[in-house]
Symmetry: C2
Subunit: 102 residues, 2 copies
């Protein structure tokens, strides 16, 4: 019948693992957006915005859950979002230099 | 400066708390959908479908995160989704009896 074993590590381990998972998910969003931009889907395109909004919503739900569960602090969660937003801004600047400052 | 204290309870506590939070979020989606249905937004309306899709995506991201973190089993996560889907089906049957079986 299979079955799972739930192994709960220490407090510091859990905090670290939660942050690692969240950063992995942020990285996936960054990669997804990079692929979209490389395929010339413009940031002002509704489809692009919808994909980004949905993905950011999903990540924010994960972060909110991790905070409520006591795995990470709200500040740590906000930092994951801020880091991703900075990465996306860098992507725009690299892939769409003409759009910077618009 | 405030600051958070991360208190990590026992394995059983964490599993219970994670499931409680997920069920609360499922309940919120159910209530949101109930309000939409009561305001005569039909299940086949694109706006309704988009709201439901986005909310279900957010919940599935939370559940996936909880599973990867070792807080709940994949089966427990699937049960939260199945329970919500059953509640939504009941809502349709109650609020939109004419649409059942279509």
């Amino acid at each position: 019948m299979g079955g799972y074993t739930l192994t709960i590590p220490t407090e510091a381990d859990l905090n670290e693992k939660a942050l690692r998972l969240l950063r992995e998910d942020a990285k996936k969003i960054e990669q997804l957006i990079a692929v979209q931009l490389e395929n010339l889907t413009l940031p002002k395109c509704p489809l692009y915005e919808e994909v980004l909004d949905t993905q950011m919503f999903g990540l924010s739900r994960e972060i909110d859950f991790a905070v409520r569960l006591g795995m990470i602090t709200r500040e740590q969660g906000q930092q994951v979002i801020l880091d991703l937003e900075k990465k996306l801004a860098d992507l725009y600047a690299t892939l769409l230099p003409s759009s910077v400052g618009e």
